[in-house]
Subunit: 633 residues, 2 copies
Amino acid sequence: MEMFKIIFLPDNVAVEAEPGESLLEVANRGNIHINASCGGEGVCGRCVVELREGTVQASPGLYLSDDDYQKGVRLACRAKVDGPATLFIPLESRADASFFKKAAQADEILTVEHPDPMVRQTCVILSPPSRDDNQSDLDRVSTALAELGLYDNDIDLSAMRRMPEVLRESGFKVTVSIFYELALQNPHSSAWGRIVSFDPAGSDDDFFGLAIDVGTTSVWLRLVNLATGEVLPSIGDLNGQISYGEDVISRIVYAGRKDGLKRLQTRVIDTVNRLLETYEQSYPGYRQKTFLIVVAGNTTMAHLLVGLEPKNIRLAPYVPPASTWPSLRASFLGVNVEPHTVMKVFPSVSSYVGGDIVAGVLASGLYKRPELTLFIDVGTNGEIVIGNQDWMTCAACSAGPAFEGGGVKCGMRAAPGAIENFLYEPQLKRHHLGVIGGVSPTGLCGSGLINVVAELFRGGVLDKRGRFVEGASPNVREGADGWEYLLSPAELSGGGHDVVMTEIDVENLIRAKGAMFSGYQTLVEAVGLKMDDLERVVIAGGFGRSLNLENAVTIGLLPGLPLNRFTYIGNSSLTGATLAALSGAMWRTAFEIKQKMTNFELSETPGYMDKYMASQFLPHTDEGLFKLQRGAA
Amino acid sequence: MEMFKIIFLPDNVAVEAEPGESLLEVANRGNIHINASCGGEGVCGRCVVELREGTVQASPGLYLSDDDYQKGVRLACRAKVDGPATLFIPLESRADASFFKKAAQADEILTVEHPDPMVRQTCVILSPPSRDDNQSDLDRVSTALAELGLYDNDIDLSAMRRMPEVLRESGFKVTVSIFYELALQNPHSSAWGRIVSFDPAGSDDDFFGLAIDVGTTSVWLRLVNLATGEVLPSIGDLNGQISYGEDVISRIVYAGRKDGLKRLQTRVIDTVNRLLETYEQSYPGYRQKTFLIVVAGNTTMAHLLVGLEPKNIRLAPYVPPASTWPSLRASFLGVNVEPHTVMKVFPSVSSYVGGDIVAGVLASGLYKRPELTLFIDVGTNGEIVIGNQDWMTCAACSAGPAFEGGGVKCGMRAAPGAIENFLYEPQLKRHHLGVIGGVSPTGLCGSGLINVVAELFRGGVLDKRGRFVEGASPNVREGADGWEYLLSPAELSGGGHDVVMTEIDVENLIRAKGAMFSGYQTLVEAVGLKMDDLERVVIAGGFGRSLNLENAVTIGLLPGLPLNRFTYIGNSSLTGATLAALSGAMWRTAFEIKQKMTNFELSETPGYMDKYMASQFLPHTDEGLFKLQRGAA
């Protein structure tokens, strides 16, 4: 079959392609990222590329105007190869990972004083074999460990194969790394040791664990020193699966395609491997000494990572194949670490309340504190936990992608070029923009959308129903999709087009915040409490970091409670995984949290729909809920 | 580099070879077996091939006369490729596996009434998920198992991946196969379950285990039905490693070469896979339902099977890397079974008292009976166990290969063409031969050698020192290697040459039987007993099956005890493995046997050398030890 060369600009990467392949497939094969929220189904219209040379087979349609088509714009998922071609990927179609590098620096650094990890190292000094004592190497080791009170050790084959050499090289003074296996169901009852490695006993006692947060959008890693408890700076990158859809549902659909599951698994493992490689620059050789990986991710991410078909997650009655995971070997899944590296995956509660939330609750301390706490992770899938040391309930609500810039006309992720901050001056009827990375604005990210809506609502430009007030601002105009507010004209924008916020965008945001608010309102009432009983509100997620608290209350996303009751805890999933990597007791606590949580299916819970309808206003039909109380509780 | 075609007759297999490769290497590469007792070191002279066409680079030498060289005879390990060539592999250089098929039919069939295997199947009927009960599939299974009292189940990834499909296909009625993991050191203390497979609960409840005896010479398999306890007929084949040397020392040496360990492992796994394939004809599809493999083999065979460098086994102080083995997955080692098939390898006592002997002691019942028992496994490495239900001692002695036809001028394995039975008529000075397979004689196997020596000694042809008595028989003549007895002239023989037994062969046998006898004599005395205190003598090993008891006493291999104290138990290693496959209790007993056995290094035990010297006669300096007592004890 004749093959054609497809060149992608600005990176100038050439990929050989067959006639009939979609440009998205070709780009994916060449490891070139093009945003495709819907996973290549042709319904999100975000995978725009510009034809610069050659030809592709395509036609205008619902998501592509004739005008844009004439200018050479194509949707990568719909356009098919029929000859050599050169295509330019515009900024808004590209994921920019540089933001993660910046965020990493700002990440808090934890230190744990007395680590008690699931993998421990024991130095054993053996008497060398002699004619009077010629028991096997393994029996010799087992006997010595038993004398230290460490009975019942099983052993890895890879450790066994290195054992004779290491014993003799080290003069029979070895460090034995033992993984304390914990049973699936009841982690307290059956702990036994499993020898995973032998190393010469030496001067360097450091050994490492890795905490990994596998998010739908991004993957974060953090190295921890299991000997000292030192926690090293985290690094992050976009989850390589993002080319196959931006939300978990698109991923689950994609996993059902031929080789889809394998491909998604490979992508996220590739992302992890890239990050591991990056760490190598700062900590050369750390992988040799990494014995444990603790992963937290939502239920779908866990299934895709481990390679379990996730389709039942999205089919009623929403039963995931697994909510606990056996101990795995990371290398077995393709992670570039030694065979001795054990991988533990956080347990989840339900299809939509995953291990990331269990880790988050662990990190928040909610499970051990007396105060009644609301924990919320704001995102496309919003998760809510209410409880304290005695009880916990949880629920997930599908807020839609508005919080992450999805389903929004000029929406984008919180990457450079995204309008994040917004200030409106009602008297002057003008605004000021704060753009991530200090560059020209390209679009509007989720927290930016909240800020714009809140400011325009306070400034009288938007009314209670989320409609523009006629004549309130010269920037309000009628556009292709109805009324819109011009944030940045094309000539001042990074993408070369007007950046606007439409009434439809506002509607989407109202739906999203209403889903979240009515979610926790339902949960609060279901347990017989009132909103004001909440003594602590913990906001988690990458989103939380850039959220303006007052604006979130203004639009009705957060309840009006005394300011000092709110806490941001950032990436609590990564923090929880870090704690579990450092401490076996914390890992066991994660199981207790999972067991203790009562999951509510909101759609099945009486009153949710009424509350949802009442929340479809700025801020709400009941405005009293949203008077921010500036004093202490 | 130029390559040459080397053709091996009679099978007419062509192998491409580089100049300088030895013919043995070329044959091995082509999977063509040529006997090479010494592993290709050029010192056994058994790998003779005949050059029919072309040329190879070789010269006559210690193991190849000028005369034979002129006739085209070459040693495959010494002859090097220097052009295209055609070579004939004569009968005596080929291993004939057909004997194993015959032996299999004669094999005893065990049946165990109430199997209690390490893998068990539990039928679980689950309530299907609903909106009110949407716990994960795995939690649902775990809860149901817990209700049956089966807590603490971990799970295989492969089982997990099939679980959602199997649950739904079967209407949530499934058979769960659980492997009860046992710790390395103390199998009693930490048993937990590990789910290895899910299958739809159905009409067919059969599930299988495999017992495997991995011997230095041959590999035997036996299928057992773990549901019913039925034991199916065993099958055997030559261990594919045999091309790399006939005894464990040659194999250990070979393992030290580049890729040697990997190659030896591959060869024995290939042998197992061939046998598994053979079983498929009788029990189609059995592998799908095989959940457990129990392997017994000597210490070296266990190391080679699992892929552990065995070199320390033969270096003082003879410390094997391992004497216990973790639970393995057979498929991980390359065995063609499902990922759910767990492999357990018998523990061994020392470098030369291996898992085959532990299995043999298990099969013999020695460990649980009050009678003082001598257990001997006669072979190149003779193993001895003395004890009863209260105590056990063991030792290994290097008898040399005479019992298996090695180091004997016309020696061969007990395969078709081997002289096995021999009757001498002193009056007529003539003999009668019994040949395996009823064909023309090609050589002399180990048990045949014992019979020939015993008969000729009783007939006055051999004296006490193992020398031919002058003029005692017309068949005694002076040959190339000194005095010899003509067993079959060339014209009546299968190989086209005279079949003889030399004085050197007799010397080798005397050394071998002396090593065995002085071994157990030393052991008996070391524990303060006399030979006559032995209430039971159990003879194990493939050799035992064809041993003539009276002749064995005549030459001084076995002590003169009442006949009813002797028992043959055949391949006790396979029988022990069979018992352990059927019963987890038996498997634990194997560990008790290992722990209980006191190993003696004979060379370090006072008196052994004196006893050995005294045994270098027919039957012994102390003839009184060998008066066979025909009555009952």
